[in-house]
Symmetry: C2
Subunit: 360 residues, 2 copies
């Protein structure tokens, strides 16, 4: 097996989001990707450490909004300031990645661009890097490539990707032509997808040649592409800013990937999680013999009961409770049954309605 | 109706206990009676304010151990230091009240002594004072009198008192000869007691003439009585201390009241609670339309669910939880279903076993 060529590979990491599903652990000012949710370091740093065996800091770029720029710079002192790409306002992933591609093109002329998310967990980093290498080699052939996640349950919270014909085997992984993207399916459909073996989860990981992705922008999003060229030509200036503000938001999936004729998918079982809520966090943390998962500086003392998730800096005691989530922070405490974990966002909206934004 | 003679009435308040059923709200260093659990002031101060319309500060005495002496003095600046009776170690209520009776006898020669508890809630203070007045008048006739609580449910956590023949009607209340004391009964027996109308709860409220109670000590607890006389004769000295340490502990119910030939009971419906746990506290606090009871400086935001008790200095949010108790303090957090409120003491023992006494 030839070693994968990596010297022209650039990795961009989308670190702009600030979801609400892990409130009060995550806050607007301290989003999930900046928290040491699992292990000693932030998910963002863990994401970078996962690719460092392939790509050095010099070709790693973090994409975010102005709100988190300072925190990211603090979290990543190794990241050169010119490798922190700040977009002035959210316009969806397509303009964000299109602009990044243009800027990389300005700097490097040509090469491979990988786009990752800053707030995912990958247990099997070796498998992940094998998939990246397979995706790089496939992208060199002109494909827009996505690395998909082999599903282990009929998750209804993710989009799915259906594979087409087998294109190649690389680094022990099958590379398929990408047949289609599917939005978050209802449960019966999700079950059918998983049973078929033809679908994987869409994790939003992409690999492409710079010229290929820019050509796709020119073809499928010509209006946005023209604006992005203006932005790239006047990054800090008023013309660029005005052009950016005028861009119609669109995601890379809808704007580009679903339309691309030459798209490929590399399904990979890499122990992946998007840590999309307290249910996922509970599953990722180690459990004691009663099924309790704990975190934070605090001690947890349960009097019977079990399968609780307790994160606290203080002493927490429970009596006879099961499948409960207790998230205890300095200014806010959240208690809920784990099966209601998907309703945390609704709670956060309620807190906003009540004018409690200082806790969000 | 003749006004009740009150100028020789002394009120002693037992404030020595430090129960564990309200942990982490109550602590060893800050027991229930010193907490503003309901209203702005401590239960101890509320107890005193309840009797102040009858008896002035000069004839109110607080009985406690050395651990809480300082906190009590701080809580009650109006209380003269000579009215704070400190026992060096717990010996049960009989020695404690016997010594208090001896000390009052030393000071006043004769008169009426009332004994109350510092950590009870009485909603109807008028009814309570009427019962005290009835008990005082009955005690003047030589009876050892107890004020009992008319039960509103078959509580198995209290002792019961069976009434005998009607002795008098005073201040709108019936005064009965006391037939017998019953230990905490099983549920079926408790139901029968309540249905009969002949039983009331034993709240541990007593009224007696000083000479009558001391005569009862001499008759029923002669050994303890002799020791108490030694203690009273050398209050701060080594002889007195040694005599106190040698006393066999016994409660006033078992040692005196159950044996007394001339005992009376004044049943009274006074909106009474011993605040004996989070279930009782929940019942005492005001509820919102969802049945939630809250306390502390914190805001409580429930996303459906209800009938929760939430005490916190911080923002607390819950999703879909019912009949839950959340007690949130600076260093410790307790979460339990309200129906497990009686197990808090077991939890506290567990915390002690784990060496977590700094939180107790």
């Amino acid at each position: 097996m030839q070693p994968t060529r990596l010297d022209d590979v650039h990795v961009t990491i989308l670190a702009g989001g600030s979801g609400t599903r892990l409130w009060p652990l995550s806050r607007h000012s301290q989003p999930k990707q900046l928290l040491p949710l699992l292990g000693e370091t932030s998910l963002l740093r863990q994401t970078i450490e996962r690719v460092l065996p392939l790509v050095p800091w010099e070709r790693i770029y973090v994409l975010s909004g102005p709100d988190h720029a300072e925190a990211i710079a603090r979290e990543l002192p190794e990241l050169g300031p010119e490798n922190l790409f700040i977009e002035p306002s959210p316009r969806g992933t397509a303009p964000c990645l299109g602009l990044a591609a243009l800027r990389l093109c300005q700097r490097a002329g040509e090469g491979i661009m990988i786009s990752l998310h800053a707030d995912h967990v990958v247990r099997n980093a070796e498998a992940f890097r094998a998939a990246l290498c397979a995706s790089i080699e496939t992208a060199r052939e002109g494909y827009l490539v996505t690395v998909g996640i082999v599903p282990d349950q009929p998750e209804t919270g993710f989009g799915y990707i259906q594979r087409g014909e087998l294109l190649a085997q690389r680094h022990g992984l099958n590379v398929y032509r990408l047949a289609r993207f599917v939005e978050k399916p209802p449960l019966d459909l999700a079950q059918a997808y998983v049973a078929s073996g033809e679908y994987c989860w869409n994790a939003g990981y992409f690999t492409w040649r710079l010229d290929a992705i820019l050509a796709a922008f020119a073809e499928f999003l010509p209006e946005q592409y023209a604006a992005l060229q203006t932005v790239a030509g006047d990054l800090a200036g008023p013309t660029g800013l005005a052009a950016w503000q005028g861009i119609t938001p669109v995601t890379i999936d809808v704007g580009i990937m679903e339309r691309a004729r030459e798209a490929a998918v590399v399904p990979c079982d890499m122990g992946w999680s998007d840590v999309g809520g307290f249910g996922a966090l509970y599953a990722l943390l180690p459990h004691d013999e009663a099924g309790n998962a704990t975190g934070g500086e605090g001690r947890y003392v349960p009097l019977d009961g079990g399968r609780n998730l307790v994160l606290s800096p203080r002493l927490v005691a429970t009596i006879g409770l099961e499948d409960l989530v207790v998230i205890d922070t300095e200014d806010a405490l959240l208690v809920l049954p784990r099966e209601r974990a998907q309703d945390v966002s609704a709670l956060v909206r309620r807190l906003h309605e009540l004018g409690l934004d200082r806790h969000l």
